[in-house]
């Protein structure tokens, strides 16, 4: 083994004095054994650095993603999917409950003429209507309500409503000027029924 080989790493790391650096550099130029050894040292050193980086990176990666995270994520996804399916199925089984005001608006056309005087009662659904909704459905126009005549042709296609039938909207106005409550009732053109 060459006498200078014990200082190759120090030369590589520039840890020698300036005189020693110059002397060893000259020797390396002339000594093939030291050149070969220096090359293998460089490669081993670089591989060691890469290895340390990989170890640090691997540890960080493993610690940042604990083993229970995938299990927890899968469980959460299944729970969310089951909740969505349950909600969707429930929405399909239950018939949509229309607002009471709308139910009053759309009685069957034939029965409308026969039952014009009788105030329509809301159909009892599976769920009891909320107090506010029941109040709206049973609302009877007072003297302050405004009556608006609406031609049947403006709401229904031609032929859908028997001739001579039109509609009247009873509208109450709130203090701020907005429409507070509304009731739509059919009426005959020539024979106006008495109010119940």
């Amino acid at each position: 083994m060459c006498n200078h080989s014990g200082k190759l790493m120090a030369w590589l790391d520039r840890e020698l004095g300036s005189d020693e650096m110059v002397e060893l550099e000259r020797h390396i130029d002339a000594c093939s054994e030291c050149r070969s050894r220096l090359e293998s040292y460089k490669q081993a050193s670089a591989t060691f650095d890469t290895y340390c980086d990989a170890v640090a990176s691997a540890k960080t990666h493993r610690e940042r993603v604990p083993c229970w995270v995938p299990v927890l994520t899968t469980t959460a996804a299944v729970a969310i999917a089951a909740t969505l399916v349950f909600v969707l199925l429930r929405a399909r089984v239950e018939p949509p409950t229309l607002p009471p005001a709308i139910r009053v608006q759309a009685p069957p056309p034939a029965a409308v003429v026969e039952n014009v005087p009788a105030p329509s009662k809301p159909v009892q659904r599976h769920r009891p209507a909320a107090p506010a909704a029941a109040q709206i459905a049973n609302w009877q126009p007072t003297a302050r309500a405004i009556q608006i005549s609406i031609p049947a042709e403006s709401m229904f296609p031609p032929g859908a409503i028997p001739r001579g039938v039109n509609f009247t909207a009873d509208l109450s106005i709130a203090a701020d000027g907005s429409a507070e409550q509304i009731r739509l009732r059919p009426r005959l053109n020539k024979v106006e029924r008495r109010q119940p």
């Binding site: 014990g6 200082k7 190759l8 790493m9 120090a10 790391d13 840890e15 050894r37 293998s40 040292y41 490669q43 081993a44 050193s45 591989t47 060691f48 650095d49 290895y51 340390c52 980086d53 990989a54 170890v55 640090a56 990176s57 691997a58 540890k59 960080t60 990666h61 610690e63 940042r64």
Partner: protein
């Protein structure tokens, strides 16, 4: 009034200067320190705790007017000693072999390259496990960017011994890994 405020100015300005120095050093040394401590066998969280403690000590050291000579070696030495205590408290062997299962982190394109790198790392891991504790620590500190004089400060050995130890350790790795 001006005479009353004068004595306060001196310690405050020195405190501010020390804070800037600690902040700059923290930016420079945080990652190398973490890598060194993790390669010594600490978990990432433990290593972060040790680094935080080390820089807190550095701040106190500078604030109390401590020596600023070889400050990088000082920080590594404090972290190294705390890592030893941490390892002892967790009843772990200090300087356990580096983790061999690093192939998952290889970011190579071709399967042949991945196989070659994996094999090289496997041989290197075995070779590192055969190094002595001081050889392994010297190499790790050198990989952290420390000069031989700073390594000697951390490990409490002569600078010439550090040079010999590093030369011997690298020679062993080169022979075992056949690189």
């Amino acid at each position: 009034m001006s005479g009353d405020s004068l004595p306060l100015a001196l310690p405050l300005s020195r405190f501010a200067t020390g804070t800037c120095e600690v902040t700059d050093l923290y930016r420079e040394l945080r990652e190398p320190l973490l890598r060194y401590l993790v390669c010594l066998g600490l978990s990432r969280d433990e290593a972060q705790d040790v680094v935080q403690d080390a820089f807190l000590s550095l701040h106190r050291h500078l604030a109390s007017g401590g020596s600023q000579e070889n400050i990088r070696g000082w920080v590594f030495r404090v972290a190294h000693n705390r890592a030893r205590n941490c390892q002892g408290s967790y009843h772990r062997r200090f300087g356990e072999p580096l983790d061999l299962e690093v192939d998952a982190q290889l970011d190579e394109t071709t399967p042949e390259r991945v196989v070659l790198e994996r094999e090289k790392f496997r041989r290197l891991g075995k070779a590192i496990a055969l190094l002595s504790e001081s050889e392994r620590e010297c190499l790790l500190l050198r990989a952290g960017g420390l000069r031989y004089r700073e390594i000697s400060e951390v490990l409490g050995m002569a600078t010439s011994t550090v040079g010999d130890t590093i030369e011997r350790a690298v020679r062993k790795l080169a022979e075992k890994c056949d690189v």
